[in-house]
């Protein structure tokens, strides 16, 4: 059960044997090889590498923060901090009875608006289809956008959300994390907002350090006393 964690670079042989290759690894003969710089983890029957670099690649059901790039008469295009643009069809917002003549897209979302969206569909043949018709999704009216490296998003969330909870409780801020590395922080007080932003930046910079949650906690508390 003990999963051996190891630092790997591309080409490193992690293990050989009957394992299932998962994220960021390839099976070459009977060897399992890392394809990226990261930390390898061996489970009972599978091997994966947690990547430490790289751009965001959309995955179905991911929550992302998008910025409206432009729109046609039928759809919006969202910048989702990836190599692909998110495609948001007008029906998703106006409903089934959308009419390209009657409805004006810019009345709902304008260029530059931020939206919380979910990747509805994505495969290699097409740009990712996103949706905002769900609870907690849709246009973001207030808050500050913080950009972090997409590969560090899991660290910002922490094990079962511990890291993000720590920050939210200490600063009283509401934080929306997009899997694409864009994070929206909104907070009543300016002080809390600045502190939350600082904490997020800190996680981004020190992602590889162990017991980072404690360090973040320390940072947040030390400021509140002063």
């Amino acid at each position: 059960m003990e999963n051996k964690r190891k630092y790997v670079v591309p080409g490193d042989v992690i293990t050989s044997g009957p394992f299932r290759p998962e994220q960021n690894v390839v099976l070459e003969g009977n060897k399992i090889i890392s394809t990226t710089v990261g930390i390898s983890e061996i489970y009972d029957d599978s091997v994966r590498v947690l990547s430490l670099t790289g751009k965001y690649i959309p995955k179905i059901d991911d929550l992302v923060i998008g910025k409206v790039l432009s729109h046609t008469s039928l759809s919006w295009e969202l910048d989702i901090n990836s190599c692909y643009v998110g495609f948001l069809p007008a029906q998703d917002v106006f409903g089934r009875d959308f009419s390209a003549h009657a409805d004006e897209l810019s009345s709902k979302l304008k260029t530059g608006d931020l939206v919380a969206a979910r990747i509805a569909n994505f495969d290699r043949t097409r740009d990712p289809l996103v949706t905002i018709s769900d609870r907690d999704l849709g246009k973001i009216d207030s808050g500050a956008l913080v950009e972090i490296s997409p590969s560090k998003v899991p660290r910002l969330i922490g094990k079962r959300g511990t890291m993000i909870q720590t920050i939210e409780i200490a600063t009283n801020a509401a934080i929306t994390i997009g899997q694409n590395g864009w994070v929206v922080v909104s907070c009543e007080s300016t002080e809390g907002l600045l502190k939350a932003k600082k904490a997020i930046k800190m996680v981004d910079e020190k992602a590889h350090i162990a017991n980072l949650t404690d360090q973040v906690k320390e940072m947040l508390e030390s400021k509140s006393e002063s």
Binding site: R5, Y7, V9, P10, G11, D12, V13, N24, V26, E28, I33, T35, T36, V37, I39, S51, L52, T53, G54, K55, I57, C83, Y84, R124, T125, S151, K206, H208, I209, A210
Partner: protein, 244 residues
């Protein structure tokens, strides 16, 4: 290349070369990963007197659009020498030689990078030679591979590169500029050390079949030395301080 009239002693009776190295020794190599902030990935290499900077962008949208491939991503490489990289000012426009090197480096990297994961995108590799010495294509290829790993482009293996050659009738590792000019053969090799595959093999000069085999062998040993340094560069950047 028959070899120009040698005005210097390329290899003395003790087996020491013109710059004081032994036959199986490389020049001093240092590699650093992640030196540029604005590029997605970057690397800097000093390989003897070569000083080369590599920046990576991507995967990103392909412009012009018609170049994109719906099946796979594409790799674009530009090898460029600065006007001040050589003793006489070099015209900054791409020369025949630079176009060739761009092409061979691209083809040497292609077997390693897994671009099929990013259809309709491009990965751009920009190589700037700040100071040139012999064997700049090998140094550039080694640095490009580190920069690609830094950018997080999935790769089956790193590509390490080193040249070998024939100087004064002896097979030597890592041919420098003087040896390249006056020597008998120069063979740049790109090698994937874990997959044990050659991705770049060029030969300028004449070798017998036996010499050829020896030359490849020596070159691959050089690649393995470079590979360790590439690994170190990445480890230093990502796992340098603080151990989990």
């Amino acid at each position: 290349m028959g070899g120009r009239e040698a005005t210097m002693v390329l290899l003395d009776e003790n087996g020491i070369r013109c710059d004081g190295r032994k036959v199986d020794e490389t020049r001093k190599i240092t590699i650093k990963a992640g030196v540029l902030k604005n590029a997605d990935g970057s690397a800097y290499i000093e390989f003897g007197d070569n000083k080369i900077l590599v920046g990576i962008f991507g995967p990103r949208d392909v412009h012009p659009k018609h170049m994109s491939d719906t099946d796979t991503g594409i790799l674009r490489v530009r090898y460029h020498m600065e006007p001040f990289s050589v003793t006489e000012r070099k015209n900054p426009a791409p020369s025949r030689r630079e176009i060739e090197i761009s092409k061979v480096i691209k083809e040497a990297l292609e077997p390693a990078v897994m671009l099929e994961k990013f259809p309709r995108t491009a990965v751009d590799v920009f190589i700037e030679v700040l100071q040139a010495d012999g064997g700049s294509r090998c140094a550039a290829l080694s640095a490009a591979s580190v920069a690609l790993a830094d950018a997080g482009i999935p790769m089956r293996d790193m590509v390490a590169a080193c040249a070998s050659g024939k100087v004064a009738d002896t097979i030597v590792l890592d041919v420098n500029n003087e040896e390249d000019q006056a020597g008998q053969a120069d063979m740049p090799i790109g090698y994937m050390p874990n997959l044990k595959k050659i991705t770049l093999l060029q030969l300028d000069g004449i070798l017998t079949p036996d010499e050829f085999k020896k030359c490849v062998e020596v070159g691959i040993n050089g690649c393995k030395i470079v590979y360790e340094l590439q690994k170190k560069a990445l480890t230093d950047k990502y796992f340098g301080n603080g151990i989990d």
